[in-house]
């Protein structure tokens, strides 16, 4: 119950936090998956959350997305109403074409127009009528990214969005996400297994273990991050925190 025992990152400056969690706990059939997590994200902050499988990182994301009702737990969560979720699988509806998928659930007379613009933003202008079946895995995930961003969310929750893509497509997606996030400036929580991906994209990296945040580090590296002389040191620290040594 002692909140000060846990890392508590205060928002920078005086802006109110975009996202705030206080002693958030979640249990699945008696097993504690999130253990009194308290966090604050500043508006526009890009936070990466890494951790081993089963460490609770997806549970944290789902709690922020409001997709965990029926799950046992307590704590206070404050998140913006306008938030988008980017899932690991693109979750396109197979009976809707690319444009219809992008504007899925979007209201307003200009929805189609905004959808077309969002598709063009992810490099799929002209593919509005394509069925999801006819798109490659990377293209499907770009449609999903367009669907997330067309809503102009104040919070983007991305749950290992590039985990199922091949290595080359993933690099292209990093560049795309980075560019689009700079345009729209939402607060971002990116859950990932990939330490390099986290350092490349985020302003701040959290490491989760057994339901707690055990590392909370700002990423003070220059872009492109992989070229920064301090990249290797940070990468080594984070891998060590995950209990992995990169010996090869």
């Amino acid at each position: 119950m002692n909140a000060s025992a846990h890392p508590l990152h205060l928002p920078r400056g005086h802006a109110p936090a975009a996202v705030s969690l206080r002693e958030v706990t979640r249990r699945f059939s008696g097993r504690t998956v999130l253990n009194e997590v308290s966090l604050d994200f500043a508006p526009g902050e890009f936070v990466a959350l890494i951790g081993k499988s089963g460490s609770g990182k997806s549970t944290l994301l789902r709690a922020l997305a409001g997709l965990d009702d029926g799950v046992d737990g307590e704590g206070r969560i404050s998140v913006p109403q306008d938030r988008s979720v980017l899932f690991q699988d693109s979750r396109l509806l197979p009976w809707k074409n690319a444009l219809q998928n992008v504007v899925f659930g979007l209201r307003g007379a200009d929805a189609d127009e905004r959808g077309r613009a969002a598709l063009a933003d992810v490099g799929l202008g002209g593919r509005e009528d394509a069925w999801p079946n006819a798109l490659s895995g990377g293209e499907q995930q770009r449609v999903a990214l367009a669907r997330s961003l067309v809503r102009q969310p104040r919070l983007l929750l991305a749950d290992e969005p590039f985990g199922a893509l091949d290595a080359l497509t993933r690099i292209r997606m990093h560049e795309l996400l980075f560019r689009l996030i700079r345009q729209h400036r939402p607060t971002v929580l990116l859950v990932t297994h990939d330490v390099d991906e986290a350092i490349k994209l985020a302003d701040r990296v959290l490491v989760m273990e057994a339901g707690r945040i055990v590392v909370d580090r700002p990423v003070a590296l220059a872009h492109p991050r992989l070229k920064d002389p301090h990249f290797e040191a940070l990468r080594g620290d984070l891998l060590a925190a995950l209990g992995v040594s990169d010996a090869v």
């Binding site: 997305a65 409001g66 997709l67 988008s84 979720v85 899932f87 699988d89 979750r91 509806l93 197979p94 009976w95 809707k96 074409n97 899925f104 659930g105 979007l106 394509a130 069925w131 999801p132 079946n133 006819a134 669907r147 809503r151």
Partner: protein, 285 residues
């Protein structure tokens, strides 16, 4: 592909003939049968008709036992040209499709009620499962007592047997909806009405079509049985009367018409299904 082309186009030299296995790879054993060429499925039916015709011509098959296909074709043309066949055909088709239409509407309505509400499922699902266990034929006595021996009884029984496959398949598709799509709908803040329209119903469409394909077959099966009861027109009546007169050629004509109608209905449903679910074939096209 290239291996097969190589094997068939390969001219063995004297050298390789002496070491057929060692120097050149033998054609790999074919483990799974290759695909049938277009229309290959017709081989069995055509062969059967040919043997049947031959057996009739050389006198192994008496016309009293079974008429020759050629005789049946001639009889069919004759019945068609004097208008008898058209009347009976229309009477049968009307019964079948009226029953089919009512049954599909009822089955769909019940599947939606049971698939989308708990009270609907509690009220309807058990009843349909019980109905499914009772053969249609067993309901004939009661249906005759309630509805008489006329058209109403026949259409009602066809509808009641059609309802079952429509209900079972549509209901299963509605309740088996992908939880990931439900989460997505929640994350974009979809209303319940929009969810039904944009996710639940399109998601259940493949199940409905599976049910419909079974239903068109079921409706013809039910028709055949019901047309044996007190009819003065219809393909079944035509066949019954032919039995009394020993006209095996007319019976064969009736069987052929049932087969054509059944296959035709199935083809029509598949055509409609392909168009409605065209998104599934995006990769192949």
């Amino acid at each position: 592909m290239s291996l097969i082309t190589y094997a068939t186009g390969f001219q063995p030299s004297a050298e390789t003939e002496r070491h057929p296995v060692g120097t050149q790879a033998a054609r790999p054993p074919q483990l799974a049968p290759s695909r049938l060429p277009r229309g290959g499925i017709l081989f069995g039916p055509v062969a059967l008709v040919a043997i049947w015709e031959l057996a009739s011509r050389i006198g192994w098959l008496s016309p009293k036992f079974l008429a020759a296909p050629s005789t049946a074709v001639l009889t069919g043309i004759e019945l068609l040209s004097n208008g008898t066949l058209a009347d009976h055909f229309l009477a049968s088709a009307q019964r079948a499709y009226l029953g089919l239409g009512i049954g599909v509407a009822l089955g769909l309505g019940m599947a939606l009620a049971a698939g989308l509400s708990r009270i609907g499922e509690a009220s309807l699902d058990g009843l349909v499962q019980i109905k499914r266990a009772v053969p249609t034929l067993a309901l004939i006595p009661l249906a005759i007592l309630w509805l008489g021996i006329g058209e109403a009884m026949k259409v009602a029984l066809i509808a009641s047997s059609v309802l079952v496959p429509i209900y079972i398949n549509t209901h299963a598709a509605l309740t088996g909806i992908d939880i990931r799509h439900v989460e997505l709908a929640r994350s974009v803040g979809l209303s319940r009405g929009a969810f039904l329209r944009e996710v639940a119903l399109p998601g259940a469409l493949p199940g409905f079509f599976t049910g419909l394909r079974l239903a068109v077959t079921t409706c013809w099966t039910a028709l055949v049985v019901l047309e044996q009861i007190n009819t003065t027109e219809g393909i079944g009546y035509l066949m019954n009367r032919a039995r009394d007169y020993g006209q095996t050629d007319v019976i064969v004509v009736g069987l052929a018409i049932y087969a054509i109608l059944g296959l035709g209905s199935d083809f029509a449903v598949r055509f409609w299904e392909r168009r409605a679910l065209s998104y599934r074939k995006a990769l192949a096209s």
